[in-house]
C-alpha cells in the first residue's frame, strides 16, 4: 500500500477558510479535502467540486416506485385475481393513488439514503481518517496532497500566510477510505 503525504492546515474560522481555499487553489496546490464540523454553503463550489447528482437518483427511484405500485396493483386486481368490490371497475385507479404515492416516497427515500451511503462509503463498522478529530467539533481542516514536485516547507508556510492556525505534515496509507475526488475537482480557471 502506497503512502501519501499531506500538508494539513487547521483553521478556526470559516470566514478565514473561504478566502484561504481560494488562494490555495489559485497558487496551484491540490486540495485533497476540507473537513468541516457543519455544512458550509458554497464551499463545494469554491473547492471546484461538481454538483451532486443525488437528486436525479432520487427522482429515478421515485419513478420506479410509482411504476412498481401501478404495475403491480393493475396486474394483481385486473389480471391475476379479479375481485368485484361493490360493483366498481377492476381497474379503479383513483383508489390506488394512496398506495402509489406511498411507494413512490418509500422507494425514493430508501434508494437515496442507500445511494448516499454508497457514494460516501458510509456504513456501520467503517473507519475513516479525517486528520484531526476536532474537525467534527470546531476546527476546519484543509488537507493538501503532496506530489513529487511539492515543496512541503513552502506549502506549510503558504497555509500559514492564508490563515491556518496549525500546520503539520501527515502520512496516510492510500486506501479507498481516505477518499479521492480527483475526477470531481475542476481545475481553477485563471479568468475567474
Amino acid at each position: 500500500m502506497a503512502v501519501k503525504k499531506f500538508v494539513v492546515g487547521n483553521f478556526d474560522d470559516e470566514a478565514v477558510l473561504f478566502p484561504a481555499v481560494k488562494k490555495v487553489r489559485r497558487a496551484g496546490y491540490k486540495i485533497h479535502d476540507v473537513f468541516t464540523p457543519f455544512p458550509i454553503h458554497g464551499l463545494d463550489h469554491a473547492m471546484g467540486l461538481r454538483d451532486t447528482s443525488l437528486h436525479t437518483a432520487g427522482f429515478i427511484y421515485g419513478i420506479t416506485g410509482t411504476a412498481t405500485a401501478v404495475g403491480f396493483i393493475t396486474w394483481a386486481l385486473t389480471v391475476d385475481w379479479q375481485i368485484n368490490f361493490g360493483g366498481k371497475p377492476f381497474f379503479s385507479l383513483p383508489a390506488w393513488i394512496p398506495v402509489t404515492f406511498e411507494l413512490t416516497v418509500l422507494f425514493a427515500a430508501v434508494g437515496m439514503v442507500l445511494t448516499f451511503c454508497y457514494l460516501c462509503q458510509l456504513a456501520p463498522f467503517v473507519k475513516k481518517d479525517h486528520f484531526n478529530p476536532r474537525s467534527t467539533d470546531d476546527t476546519f481542516v484543509m488537507a493538501l496532497e503532496c506530489t513529487d514536485k511539492t515543496s512541503e516547507a513552502e506549502a506549510m508556510s503558504f497555509l500559514e500566510t492564508v490563515g491556518a492556525k496549525e500546520v503539520k505534515i501527515e502520512y496516510k496509507e492510500t486506501e479507498w477510505w481516505i477518499g479521492r475526488y480527483d475526477k470531481d475537482v475542476k481545475l481553477f480557471h485563471k479568468e475567474n
Binding site: 473537513f35 473547492m47 404515492f101 467534527t136
Partner: protein, 484 residues
C-alpha cells in the same frame, strides 16, 4: 463571516449566551457524556414498569381475544383505535418541524427538530401497536402484506383505506427513521471523536458510519436532507389524510364527511406540537439546554398551537353546520343528540373536547401566556387530553347508537387490560425517549453551529460589520463553471 442572508435585528437570537463552536459541542454533548442522574433512573424505571404492564395487558388480549377490552358489537374500535389515531397524530410534529419548516427556511427548527423527530418515531412505533394487536389473531398479521400466498394467490384489497393505512404508516415510519438517522450521523461522529472510554468509541464509531465531515459528503448530505424534506412534506400530510379515510370513506353518520382529511391533519399538528412542548419544557430544564431551546422556540410553537387549535375549532363548527344543512336525520342525530347534547351518555366527552381543543388554546393570543412555562406545560397536557377525546368522540359517539335501537350499547367502559395497553405504549414511548436523551444528542449539533453566526446572541449584535461577501456569490464567482 460571510452570510447567506441577512437576519433582522428585530428577531430574538435563537442561541442565547456567548458561545463559540466548541462551547456548543460541550453544552450539547455534556448530558450524553455524563452519568445518568437519579432523576433519569427514576423516570426510566417508571417507564419500563409501564411497559411491562403493557406487555402483560397485551398478553391477556392475545390469550383471550379483544373481548378482554370490553369491546362490544357496535363499538368495535373503542379505546384501541382512539389510541392509534392519537399516537399517529402526535407523530406528525417531528416531521412537520424537520421537513416543512426546513423548506420554509425557519431557523428556529434547528433547536427542536432532533428531539421532535425522535418523538415522531417513537409515537409511530406506539401507534403501530394498536391496529396490530387489535387484529386478535395477531399471528396472522402478515396477511396485510401483498405476498404470494397459497390462497390463490389472493391479494390484499388495494381499494381499502385500511390497507392504505398499512402502506402509509409503514412508509412514514421508515422515511422518518431514515431522515432522523441521516441527520444524526455528523453528530454521532462528534461524539465518537470526543469519546474517551472504549465502549463509547466503539458504540459511536459503529453508529456514526465513519462520517468524516468531508466537503463532498456535506454537499451530498445537504442534497439528501433537502430531497427527504421535500418527500416528507407531502408524506406527513398524506399519512393523517389516509388515517382520516378510515372513517371518511365509510357510510356511518359522523364519519362520512369530506372535511376529515384537512381537519385530521390540523389536529395532528396541534397535538404533535403539544407533545413536543410537554417533552421539551422538561428536557431543556433537566439537561440545562435553555440556551438552545429558548423562550423564543416555546413561543413560536405556542403560536402554531393556537393556529392549529383554531383550525380544528372551525372544523368542529363546520361539521355541526353540515349536519344541520344536510337535513339528513341520521347526521343530525349523530351530531346534535349523540354529541352536542350534554345530557346524552357521551355528551360530556364532546364538551371536554371542545373545551380543551378550541377554547383553552385561545389563551395563547397573549404574549405573556405564550412565554410562560407553566402555562405552556399545563396547556400542552390539556391539548393532548382534548385531542384524545376528539378521537374518542369520533369513534365511540358515532356508533354506540346506530340505526337499530335494540343494538344500542351505551356505556362502553374500557377494561383494565385496555387501559393497561394504552399505559404500556406510554411506557414504550418514554423508555425510548429516556434512552434517546441519554445516548444521543437531543439537539442537532451541526445545524446549531450552522446558524450560530446568524442567530447566536453574541454574533447577532455585531452582524452589520462582519457581513462582507455572500458565500453563494463567492461560489458563483470562483470555480462554478458548469457548462463552461
Amino acid at each position: 463571516m460571510a452570510l447567506l442572508r441577512y437576519e433582522s435585528q428585530v428577531r430574538s437570537p435563537l442561541v442565547d449566551g456567548t458561545k463559540d463552536y466548541h462551547q456548543v459541542t460541550e453544552d450539547i454533548c455534556r448530558p450524553v457524556e455524563a452519568n445518568p442522574s437519579k432523576l433519569w433512573w427514576v423516570g426510566f424505571l417508571i417507564s419500563v414498569g409501564l411497559l411491562i404492564f403493557g406487555i402483560v395487558s397485551v398478553t391477556m388480549e392475545v390469550m383471550y381475544g379483544t373481548g378482554q377490552w370490553n369491546l362490544n358489537k357496535t363499538i368495535g374500535w373503542g379505546w384501541d383505535i382512539t389510541n392509534f389515531v392519537w399516537w399517529v397524530g402526535i407523530g406528525h410534529a417531528g416531521t412537520l418541524i424537520s421537513a416543512i419548516l426546513l423548506l420554509f427556511r425557519q431557523g428556529w427548527r434547528t433547536g427542536v427538530n432532533r428531539a421532535a423527530e425522535a418523538m415522531t418515531i417513537f409515537a409511530v412505533m406506539c401507534a403501530g401497536q394498536f391496529p396490530i394487536w387489535h387484529m386478535g389473531r395477531v399471528w396472522n398479521a402478515f396477511f396485510v402484506l401483498p405476498y404470494p400466498n397459497t390462497r390463490g394467490p389472493l391479494w390484499v384489497n388495494f381499494n381499502s383505506p385500511l390497507l392504505w393505512d398499512v402502506f402509509a404508516i409503514s412508509t412514514y415510519f421508515t422515511v422518518s427513521l431514515l431522515f432522523w438517522y441521516s441527520g444524526l450521523l455528523p453528530d454521532l461522529a462528534t461524539l465518537r471523536d470526543r469519546a474517551k472510554v472504549k465502549w463509547r468509541k466503539h458504540f459511536y464509531g459503529v453508529a456514526a458510519f465513519g462520517w468524516t465531515g468531508s466537503t463532498k459528503h456535506w454537499q451530498r448530505h445537504e442534497a439528501l436532507s433537502l430531497v427527504l424534506a421535500g418527500l416528507s412534506t407531502p408524506l406527513v400530510l398524506s399519512v393523517h389524510t389516509i388515517v382520516s379515510f378510515d372513517f371518511a370513506t365509510s357510510v356511518v353518520p359522523g364519519w362520512h364527511t369530506t372535511i376529515f382529511p384537512p381537519y385530521f391533519v390540523a389536529g395532528a399538528i396541534f397535538s404533535g406540537f403539544a407533545m413536543v412542548q410537554t417533552l421539551l419544557v422538561v428536557t431543556r430544564k433537566v439537561l440545562a439546554l435553555e440556551d438552545y431551546i429558548t423562550m423564543e422556540h416555546i413561543e413560536v410553537m405556542n403560536k402554531v398551537i393556537v393556529l392549529t387549535g383554531s383550525i380544528v375549532g372551525i372544523a368542529y363548527l363546520t361539521e355541526l353546520f353540515m349536519a344541520w344543512y344536510s337535513a339528513v336525520s341520521y347526521e343530525e342525530f349523530a351530531f346534535f343528540e349523540n354529541r352536542l347534547n350534554l345530557d346524552s351518555p357521551y355528551g360530556w366527552s364532546y364538551w371536554l373536547m371542545m373545551g380543551c381543543n378550541v377554547l383553552s388554546p385561545q389563551i395563547f393570543w397573549f404574549r405573556k401566556m405564550r412565554r410562560n412555562l407553566f402555562v405552556t406545560f399545563f396547556m400542552s397536557i390539556l391539548v393532548n387530553i382534548g385531542m384524545w377525546f376528539e378521537r374518542f368522540v369520533i369513534i365511540v359517539t358515532s356508533v354506540y347508537r346506530d340505526y337499530l335501537p335494540s343494538a344500542w350499547s351505551t356505556y362502553y367502559t374500557p377494561s383494565i387490560w385496555e387501559i393497561g395497553f394504552y399505559m404500556g405504549t406510554f411506557g414504550l414511548f418514554f423508555t425510548c425517549y429516556f434512552l434517546f436523551s441519554k445516548f444521543f444528542p437531543v439537539i442537532a449539533l451541526a445545524e446549531i453551529k450552522h446558524i450560530l453566526k446568524k442567530n447566536g446572541e453574541n454574533f447577532k449584535n455585531n452582524m452589520g460589520e462582519v457581513e462582507e461577501e455572500s458565500t453563494e456569490e463567492f461560489g458563483h464567482k470562483h470555480g462554478h463553471d458548469h457548462g463552461a
